[in-house]
Structures are given as structure tokens and as C-alpha cells.
């Protein structure tokens, strides 16, 4: 049971951390939580549907359908985060003038919120389908084992959900004048990590065959299956044995987010409280 709980927790943790960051960054906007929960719900339904069609999906793209779907989902999430960041950066200037910096996020419109809901939905979808298939596989055993596996799965989901909540609560406790900077940096890291993982999945599918060589091997120093490694993987796509393309994707996305923020972001006007 505990084995199942740990495995499911690991999947839910990855999604939960990302959702916690996104919710903390945008949760102050009116209707934001509705969009975020809507995204979670849509992702959960999508996971069930995807699990039902898992066999069909995996046969796409010459047998690499899963990898290609995951890469598409990740690229879509990066694009949504980039679009949302740009929208906030360009519209933030006038909002800051109208509403002072504290009210910056309160005026976020519904279009960027749809982007946020999409990011949440695809994040849940990405990990969720695997959890559904895993639990289905585990539950196919004998009666008592199956029940234990399902109980473990539920414990894993609840614990993963708690990570999202703790992350959210932790970030929203940061003083208001730092929140924008912190969440902008976290979202840039999150997006860069997603881009690196998208590169990994494209390479795992044989769709991208450049820069495949391993750049370093930290698997004995900081394995990605360790607690810190898992956290860094969820936060910024950490890999203990990254390929060149993964590092390029990470660096390029980080630079893009940094440039986008610095080109259009309003000058900080916060006064000490």
C-alpha cells in the first residue's frame, strides 16, 4: 500500500507543485480559483478519457504516441505561460497606474485566465493519465492487494494535493511587494523546465535527434529520484543526466521569459509598508 502511495504521490506532487505556483501567482484575481479548479476538473476528466484510449494513443507516431502527446502538452503549457506573462507584462503598466501595484492582479481579464486554466488542465492531464493507468494495473491483482493499492493511491493523491496547498500558502505569505518578482521567477523556471522536458520527450520519441549526447552525469550526486531531485524536477525540469538539447531548451526559454519581463514590465513603484 505504501509503495503505491509513494508512486502516486510522486506523480501528483509534480502536478501539485506546478499548480500551487500558478495558483499563488494568479489566485488573487477575481474568478481565478474558479478557473484553476475548472482546469483541475477538466484535466482529471481528460486523464480518465486518455487512460481509456491509452492503447490507441501509444500507437500513434510509430509507437511513440505517448511521448509526442506529452511533448505537445508541455509545449502548449510553455506557450500559455509565455502568453500570460507577456499579457501581464504589457497590460500591467496601465493597471499599476490605475490600481497601484497591490491591485495589479485583481484586474486580470478572462482571456489570460483561460490560459491559466489550460496550463492547470494539461498539467493534471500529463500526470493524471499515468496515475489512472497505474491504479488500474495495481487494482487488477487479487482482492485484498487491489484494495490496498487503491487505498495507497488515494493517500498519494491526498498527500500530493497537500503539497499544492502548502506551496500555494507558502508563496502567498510572501510580502506583497515581493510576490510579483518571486512568482514571475518561479513561472519562468517552471516554463523553462517544461521546455527542457518537452525536448527530452521529443528525443525519447526519436523526433529530435540533435544534441543527444549527455552533458553531465549527476546521478550519483543528486539523483532525480531523490527528494531534492524530485522537487527540482517538478519545479524546473531537473534531470541528473541532461542532453544538450534539454539544456538549450531550458536556457532559451529562461532568456525569453527574462527578456519579455524586462522589456514590458512596469517599473517597480512599491513603497515600504
Amino acid at each position: 500500500m505504501f509503495g503505491t502511495a509513494i508512486i502516486v504521490f510522486r506523480e501528483v506532487f509534480e502536478a501539485g507543485l506546478a499548480i500551487g505556483i500558478v495558483a499563488a501567482a494568479l489566485g488573487h484575481a477575481p474568478r481565478a480559483l474558479r478557473y484553476i479548479w475548472g482546469g483541475v476538473f477538466a484535466g482529471a476528466i481528460g486523464s480518465l478519457v486518455l487512460a481509456v484510449f491509452a492503447g490507441t494513443v501509444s500507437n500513434f507516431f510509430g509507437g511513440f504516441g505517448n511521448e509526442m502527446l506529452t511533448a505537445t502538452i508541455l509545449i502548449l503549457a510553455v506557450m500559455m505561460l509565455a502568453w500570460h506573462t507577456l499579457w501581464m507584462a504589457t497590460h500591467g503598466r496601465q493597471m499599476a497606474q490605475d490600481l497601484k501595484s497591490v491591485g495589479l492582479q485583481a484586474a486580470t481579464g478572462s482571456k489570460p485566465m483561460l490560459a491559466v486554466a489550460t496550463v492547470v488542465a494539461v498539467t493534471v492531464l500529463r500526470e493524471g493519465a499515468e496515475v489512472v493507468l497505474f491504479l488500474y494495473g495495481a487494482a487488477a491483482g487479487s482482492g485484498a492487494t487491489a484494495l490496498q493499492s487503491l487505498a495507497g493511491g488515494i493517500i498519494g493523491i491526498v498527500l500530493g494535493g497537500m503539497v499544492a496547498y502548502v506551496t500555494y500558502k507558502g508563496i502567498v505569505r510572501i510580502p506583497m511587494r515581493w510576490v510579483f518578482t518571486v512568482t514571475t521567477a518561479l513561472i519562468a523556471l517552471l516554463a523553462s523546465g517544461m521546455a527542457a522536458q518537452a525536448a527530452h520527450f521529443l528525443q525519447a520519441a526519436g523526433a529530435a535527434t540533435i544534441l543527444e549526447a549527455e552533458v553531465w552525469d549527476w546521478s550519483s550526486v543528486l539523483p532525480e529520484t531523490s527528494i531534492i531531485g524530485t522537487f527540482l524536477k517538478a519545479l524546473m525540469g531537473y534531470s541528473d543526466r541532461p542532453t544538450g538539447l534539454m539544456l538549450v531548451a531550458f536556457g532559451a526559454t529562461l532568456i525569453l521569459f527574462w527578456v519579455a519581463n524586462h522589456m514590458a514590465r512596469p517599473k517597480p513603484q512599491a513603497k515600504p509598508a
Binding site: G62, G63, L76, F134, G137, A140, G141, T209, E212, A213
Partner: protein
């Protein structure tokens, strides 16, 4: 949605070119891997075809090789492993990891 079309296009133009490259075959029957120890030649990459002969979904996991992929009941998956290093790697069917164990040896 425009942005989804762009994402899909970006992935589609890079559709897998080496899907037929499978150079190792492995199967799961009950809790037994066939063969129990799979030997693969060390190259910059290899592609593994894994067949799940069971009536329940499975998940092939070989931690040292970064393999972690679900496979539906009676399904087949392909796994491409990059930069494998010579050695012996433990693998399991994750939902039944206490019983279903196999090994991949990279030579």
C-alpha cells in the same frame, strides 16, 4: 485554438523518424519477463519493444535507464533509451514491483 495548432504543428513537423529502429524485444507474461535478462549492445541509443501479454495494464520501469512507461493490457510500447552506459539495470512492472522483476544488461 490558434496556439494549440502551433504547438501541434511544432511537434508534427518533427515526427519520429526512427520508429522502426527497435533493436531489442522484451515481453511480460504474468509476473515473468521474457527473457528474464535482456542483453543489449552499448551504443549511443537503442529502441526497446515491450509487449504486455497480461490482461491488466502494466508499467515498465528501469530506473537507471530512465525508462518509465505505461502499457495497456495486451499492448505494445516502444522505448528509446539515450546514452545507455554499460552495466546491469533492474527493471520492474511497477504496479507489481515486488514480484515482476527483470534485468537489462548493456554490454
Amino acid at each position: 485554438m490558434k496556439i494549440f495548432a502551433i504547438a501541434l504543428f511544432a511537434v508534427t513537423i518533427t515526427s519520429p523518424a526512427i520508429a522502426d529502429e527497435a533493436n531489442a524485444n522484451w515481453a511480460l507474461q504474468g509476473t515473468k519477463f521474457d527473457p528474464p535478462v535482456l542483453t543489449v549492445e552499448a551504443k549511443s541509443s537503442f529502441t526497446l519493444k515491450f509487449i504486455n501479454n497480461n490482461d491488466a495494464s502494466a508499467e515498465l520501469e528501469c530506473k537507471g535507464l530512465k525508462i518509465e512507461k505505461p502499457v495497456v493490457a495486451k499492448g505494445t510500447i516502444l522505448v528509446r533509451v539515450l546514452n545507455p552506459k554499460p552495466g546491469t539495470y533492474d527493471c520492474v512492472d511497477e504496479p507489481h514491483e515486488d514480484e515482476a522483476k527483470g534485468q537489462i544488461v548493456i554490454k
